[in-house]
Amino acid sequence: MRYADFGPHDIVLLLNGLGVSLTLFLTTSLVGVVLGALLAVVRYYRVLVARELVTFVTEMLKNSPVLVQLFLVFFGIPALFKIDVTPFEAAFFTLALNTAAFVYVIVVSAVESIDREQIEAGRVFGLTRWQVLRHVIAPQAVAFATGPLTALLVNQLQVTSLISVIGVVDLTKVGDILNMRTLKPFIVWTVVGVLYYLAAKIIALAGGFVERRLTAHSAWKGL
């Protein structure tokens, strides 16, 4: 099989790689969005210390390279705690936390962009803090956050390609393997690039659709 030309099986290989990339992307996005949003809720309830701690951790996660975080989790943590971490586990853990950090920032600023007056109105009419969050803040914050979240997720999809470095056989790693075998880098990386592009485009379109639905109430503002 050395230096062989492309064969039909390569399509399966590419699709498998794409599957791994998308699985990792979807699961880490889900965990990241839920975790980031939960942390923002903790901040809303003004839990003491938690806020400072969350701010510190998210700052670290946002301001250091994902690749370094990945190395820390894959090489550093097993060495320190004498535990085994598989490449997929390390990739999952790192990307989920990294996504959560960015989601946290997006959700917090979405919540803060909502007028205090409406929140006061809710409180005056006897809504609890939770009811205000649920009925007044959350629906609007979700609408505000959808745009930035979509942009973040498109970016996080690209970031998943870094995990090929620690040996996860994702789409990029498959590209690497095919490239080694066929020695046709232009074709291989074009195909891989187009696959990423298509996946990203679907995410962006879905995000745009959701955003338009959620902001229907402001359509007449002429903004």
Binding site: A121, G122, V124, F125, L127, P139, H217, A219, W220
Partner: protein, 244 residues
């Protein structure tokens, strides 16, 4: 009854309310007048629990607003209409009106909706029930704001300059609704710069000046030469208002 005793409120070092005593009986319409910065809005915000008070006591039907456990009950009894409407922009006019009845009073959604529609109908917004705030004029928004407060069937209605963000035509349409409410025996605490209107609907007029309650008189007495007008600050305020 709303009872305010020796209320004090400061923002940092600035004392904004300085020993206010005031009681409002059910059925009364009390207007609060006073120049800008005299503390009128702050007084309203203390009554509905949006500001923490520094000293004194406020009770609404004997529920102490400073006590977190009693505040919820106090709030069920008073409804606030805001200067800038403060509607929920993502909810239709009808949902703005029904949110609190359904969530706080645990009313049945269909019933609340029926009553909400009837309320909107009564202020001439029957056909705008499904519009979002952004699709309504200022006057229409404030009418929704009034319905939202009335939907909770409050004993006391707190109104803070509810027409000052509106042009004269819209002001007239909102004042008409308020005049109608006083005719039906709603208790109102009415902060306003509309002196003529206050005079026409109020039982009592309270005058605030630099955080102090300077005058608290029956409406007719307040405007009499030997009544409220005998107070230099009141006379000065009223003559200034007439010029505007």
């Amino acid at each position: 009854m709303i009872r305010i005793e020796n209320l004090k409120k400061a923002f940092g070092k600035v004392t904004v309310l300085d020993g206010i005593d005031l009681s409002i009986e059910p059925g009364e319409v009390v207007s609060i007048l006073g120049s800008s910065g005299s503390g009128k809005s702050t007084l309203i915000r203390c009554i509905n629990g949006l500001e923490r008070i520094d000293a004194g006591r406020i009770t609404v039907d004997d529920f102490d607003v400073s006590n977190p456990k009693e505040l919820a009950e106090a709030r069920k009894r008073s409804g606030t209409v805001f200067q800038l409407f403060n509607l929920y922009p993502h909810l239709s006019a009808l949902r703005n009106v029904t949110l609190a009845p359904v969530e706080v009073l645990k009313r049945n959604a269909a019933e609340a909706e029926k009553e909400g529609r009837a309320l909107l109908e009564s202020v001439g917004l029957g056909d705008r029930a499904d519009a979002y705030p952004a699709q309504l004029s200022g006057g229409q928004r404030q009418r929704v704001g009034i319905c939202r407060a009335l939907a909770m069937k409050p004993r006391y209605l707190l109104l803070d300059e509810v027409t000052s963000a509106l042009d004269p035509e819209m002001t007239a349409e909102v004042l008409e609704i308020l005049a109608d409410l006083t005719g039906r025996g709603t208790t109102m605490i009415f902060v306003t710069h509309e002196v003529a209107f206050a005079r026409s609907i109020s039982d009592r007029i309270v005058f605030l000046d630099q955080g102090r309650l300077l005058v608290d008189l029956p409406c007719e007495t307040f405007f009499a030469e030997d009544g409220g007008m005998a107070n230099a600050r009141v006379a000065q305020f009223l003559s200034k208002m007439r010029k505007d």
